[in-house]
């Protein structure tokens, strides 16, 4: 991952001046061979992404080669161009020069864009000074589907302040989820009076586990929902099974036992101070800000939630196909002495096929990332079921919850 990116980064970046009303595109090397193209583009007649893509292929004389496009935005971040939306966004951000970086899409190596590869502009400094970037070690930012998904607080804007919805990701880490749940009694204040209802609570966090290290869940937090499904009326074993079944993308809505760390007023300074581009209304509590998950975490978390929301097939099954499976042959009575005819009449156990190729189903296609990236720019919440929000609303009406 890293090596691939560094190679890209090592390539020089040129800036040229622009014409009026046209964009000058500088195209960066393809496959690390110094090949730069500079060309002009009409700002208002740019057309669609596909046209642009074909234009680049023509310019570089690489028809048919599958490439990835990226551009440097005004902050110096390298962002992808793979659909009409971010293509137009890229055009609008041209200042007036637009630097396009083209890279061959490689099947084996995941393609990752470097973050800060073009270095974040320092506050107060106007314009990019590319010469300054070289001595800075760069952080890398990958395509959304390549992001290491990490745990986060989500849906702050639609939840009551007393609740917290946490997404736990053990993606890429070898940490266990590391928490236990138990039965308990929850007291909720309703207009009819105080009501005691059975509830499910976090009983223990495993030291060094994911739940503990994120700091997003605490002992005695009451579990209200698992992946948008209300746990009211469900037994401990049922909730356990729901959590295990959703463990690859576990979203738990809790009422934290410690209510002091709640977001005081959503949408105010917490999200403003976050500063992440295109924040989907997500904000961090103080608790998580103190936790090892730092600023970078919060930036990524937005794109995570968006990417997850519309990829329901995140748990795609692995299909291994046998290469040597011959296509159908009619009964061997018709074709005597065929390829299998010479098998001995006894001891034919363990007839094993030849090595197999592994292929993942084609879910990570261009269209997927297109959808996820386009939603990056428009502030959308992840697709939490409607049932969730309605239940949230009804819960809000119920009044406060008190946990014993």
């Amino acid at each position: 991952m890293d090596c691939c990116l560094s190679r890209i980064h090592s390539s020089p970046v040129n800036i040229r001046q622009q014409h009026h009303n046209t964009l000058t595109c500088v195209c960066l090397p393809l496959q690390f061979e110094a090949e730069y193209r500079r060309f002009a583009l009409k700002k208002n007649g740019a057309g669609s992404f596909q046209e642009f893509y074909q234009l680049l292929q023509t310019i570089h004389r690489i028809p048919g080669v599958d490439v990835l496009l990226g551009y440097a935005d005004i902050h110096g971040d390298l962002l992808p161009i793979n659909n009409d939306d971010n293509f137009h966004k890229a055009l609008s951000s041209a200042n007036p020069l637009l630097r396009i970086i083209i890279q061959r899409r490689d099947e084996d190596e995941p393609v990752v864009f470097p973050t800060n590869s073009l270095q974040r502009r320092k506050k107060g400094l106007a314009g990019l000074r590319p010469s300054q970037q070289k001595n800075k070690p760069a952080l890398l930012i990958g395509l959304p589907q390549d992001f290491r998904q990490i745990s986060s607080i989500i849906d702050v804007d639609i939840l009551p302040e007393t609740h917290r919805r946490v997404r736990l990701h053990k993606h890429g880490t070898h940490k266990p989820l590391g928490f236990y749940i138990r039965d308990g009694v929850s007291v909720r204040v309703t207009p009819q009076g105080v009501e005691k209802v059975p509830g499910v609570f976090i009983s223990r966090l495993v030291r060094g586990g994911l739940a503990e290290s994120t700091g997003l869940l605490g002992v005695n937090d009451e579990i209200l929902e698992v992946n948008g499904i209300d746990v009211a009326g469900k037994s401990l074993d049922q909730v356990t099974d729901m959590m295990v079944a959703n463990s690859h993308n576990l979203i738990v809505t809790v009422k934290p036992a410690n209510q002091r760390n709640n977001v005081v007023h959503r949408g105010s300074k917490a999200s403003a101070g976050n500063g992440s581009a295109g924040s989907g209304g997500s904000a961090l509590s103080h608790e998580s800000a103190h936790s090892p998950a730092s600023q970078t975490v919060s930036q990524c978390s937005n794109s995570n939630s968006v990417a997850e929301g519309d990829s329901d097939d995140d748990d795609t099954d692995l299909i291994i196909e046998s290469d040597n499976l011959p296509s159908y042959t009619p009964h061997r009575s018709l074709a005597n002495g065929n390829i299998h005819g010479n098998t001995p009449s006894s001891g034919v156990f363990g007839h094993r096929p030849l090595p197999q190729s592994v292929s993942l189903p084609s879910s990570s296609s261009l269209s997927d990332s297109k959808a996820s990236l386009s939603s990056l720019t428009t502030p959308t919440h992840n697709g939490s079921p409607t049932k969730t929000s309605s239940s949230q609303e009804s819960m809000r009406e119920d009044g406060n919850f008190i946990t014993l």
Binding site: I181, D237, D317, G341, P361
Partner: protein
Amino acid sequence: SGQKFLRPCALDELKHTLSFPFVQTVEHGFPNQPSALAYDPKLQLMAIGTKSGAIKVYGAPGVECTGLHKETATVTQLHFFPGQGRILSLLDDNTLHLWEIEQKEQCSHLEEVCSFMLPGRSGIESTSATRVTVLLPKLSCDLLAVGTEGGGVHFLELPSFTLLDRSIFQDEIMQSVPEEYKCGKSLGPVESLQEHPQHPDKILIGYSRGLVVLWDLQIFVVCVFLLQQLESLVWVRSGNSFVSSHSDGGYMVWPVSSSTPCTHEPVTSTIPYGPFPCKAVNKILWRTTESGAPLVLFSGGMPRASYGDRHCLTILQDSQHITLDFTSRVIDFFTIHCIDRDKEFDDPLALVVLLEEELVVIDLQTAGWPTIPSPYLAPLHSSAITCSYHISNVPTKLWDRVISAGQRQCHLQTHTNWPICGGKNLAPSPKQQELLLTGHEDGTVRFWDASGVSLRPLYKLSTANIFQTDCDHNDSLTQAGEEDWPPFRKVGCFDPYSDDPRLGIQKICLCKYSGKLLVAGTAGQVIVLYLCDEKSDHMIDVATVDLLQDREGFTWKGHDRLPPKSSSVPFAPGFQPVVLVQCMPPAAVTAVTLHAEWNLIAFGTSHGFGLFDYHRRLGFHSRCTLHPNDSLAMEGPLSRVKSLKKSLRQSFRRIRKSRVSGKKRVMVSSPSSKVQEANAQLAEQDAEVTPVQRRIEPRSADDSLSGVVRCLCFADTFLRDGTHHGPTMWAGTNSGCVYAYALDVPSQDKFSEQSVEALLGKEIQLMHRAPVVSIAVLDGRGNPLPEPYEVSRDLAKAPDMQGSHSVLIASEEQFKVFMLPRVSAKTKFKLTAHEGCRVRKVALVNFSSVASEDYSENGLVCLTNLGDIHVFSIPALRPQVRYDCIRKEDISGIASCVFTKTGQGFYLISPSEYERFSLSARVITKPLCQLDVDSFCTTVPHQANGTHKTQPTGESKSVGDAEGKSSVFKMQTAAK
């Protein structure tokens, strides 16, 4: 392409015509823990009460109804009011209940009319004085005599249950008894009440200590003094004498004449199994016959030292003497005999014995007293049930052959008609024959007729005889060791003691068209059998299949394989083995499937699966499914000891905790108790450190027993490409892995020359890694593929081979439909992620519409670990309905559930009873019957609304023992 399957019009239709009503229809088998028996000679109905408070009434086959007390208490006594369709029950909480058989829309129901109880004396809890010991409803049905532990006899008017002011108290008796008959202060509880057969006003009252009085409802007439503790009394039909049985194992015949009010000496006194000490004769019956000597029938009385542990019932007539030797306790028994008062003799037809585990009926009219096979109350659990398998729509040919094979197995059975034949069965004869196969711990497979309300045994297949087991020698030993006297005869089939647990049947598969049967057991034995009408004598072909496939580092630590017999074995007509396939290591078989048209079987264990061509007796493929970390798979079934130990320790801890906290209430503060208190608190804290909690972790690949093969399936479908279909085999494992093989099956005429071959086509690893419960291939229209032979013999519509096939994979957590041949996911339903429940059983079911015979829909029926049943449409996997079915704590009930192809199902509600249920409005098997209750009998006038109590008034006479002066009957009438 997904839209194609939604078929909006069909779904609408489905909503209107198929409503999936869930009904529990009938209980099959033998009631668990029976505790009481009664017989109505007029209506010819038998009633059985159970420890759980159920009453079951049986008449002619198909005539039955059930009632359940609101209280979960043991039914200790049941009495019919002859001819009235009313049953009186006594529970062990000392309450009396009156039930009526009511006729509603072709169905007979048992409804509780009212209940009442005798309270203890005020101020003292649980006095035994008013505890009811015996009940005697008079034949005239207008009076009920109630005997109590305190020795009183009270009279209640029927059916209103008004207490009459004529109770008989011990002190009253004592005054009337001559001095020499008084033995001590108390007479003891009332042990027996018997109405005089000729004079309804006379009642024989027997007290436990041995005093028996003949009571005329005005004056008492006869008094007999008995030396021994009394067990039971019975009148001789003439009324000139009665018979008593005693705790010393003897019985006596006493003369009754008005001339001698007091009798010391019996006519005869016998201890049949003396002279050494004998056990009590619990109950005796005396039946006169026209042909000569009376029949004496009694239970117990065996010599204490030598046969004290036997459950016996003796039939004596002249020199004929048979000791029926049962395998379980005798609960009660009665004879079916002539009740016409004008006839001189009883002339018993049959003896009905209710045992703890089965019902035995003896033909008393045929010489040798053979047994009459029971058409219902089948002892399903004669050996513990280990698995079950249902076949619907059995072809007549197979049906007849199974029945004829079964008839040849019956020894010592008469074909006398079933003597209990009350009521009319109104159920139409079943449209199709259904077979239920149960596999048992002793290696037998029993075939039951499940077409109707009563589950009838058809045929029993034993697999033990092809193996060398210890039981062979045992049998001969016990035969030789048995002496000639007492003349024991083993009766009944309940035999819970399996000779070798390895014989246990784990999986069954039957091809109903070819009569091929596949049976697999605990020691890795897989037996292919075929139905043969002739007896034969042959060696068994044995093939061994290594499922470990030379995997390194695995050593089987479990049981050995069952050694097959090396000589030829005789087989009776019926299912005879073709070949025995032995899996190595010999772990229990966890999945089997059979394709009779291709002559192939597939079987799996916790180590892998194998494919076998039984025509050529050749295994042609096997695969090890073990994960390298899977050490538990090699432990065998004994590895459970570990977890058992742990749970035992935990339950001990729980007990300790409850004791401690129980103590705390009564503790008084003292120095020593303070220490205890501190200890108790410590103990409680210790318990609180580990509350009931659950760890949340995703499943990992190296879970133990991940290699267990959970399901296997053959299908003719598209695996290689989208244009050519062919034989395939699918296997699913505990770790969410599915293997799909393309098979090369030679055509029929080349079968002997060429071998079958298997090529691994696809391997699917479900990302959620849950165990694969079931795999089924759906045709182009989304319907399940037909069974082997169904198409080639024009028995079913050919599957759609034009549209693309799909495979339905049901794991414990999700249902998924994948398109074939690419295996691309099409639809799915995440059950566990949404409901938190896990799939236990699934079946593809064809639901026929009630409105139109031709219209039917296929559905996926699923039973979860919470005991609820879900129905999903296929292949869209839309949830249709959900019903609570089995209690979630009833793990064995859930594990035993089996679905039929037409929307019914069975599950065990006790080791001996199947509950039958239906999800299809069209296919419902429930008792439809009519019981003709006497026309003069009107129902009890129900008290309006609520509880009615008779107030204790001055005129009410005190109840209880001699000292109990102020007790009153409290009567509660429950309004229906």
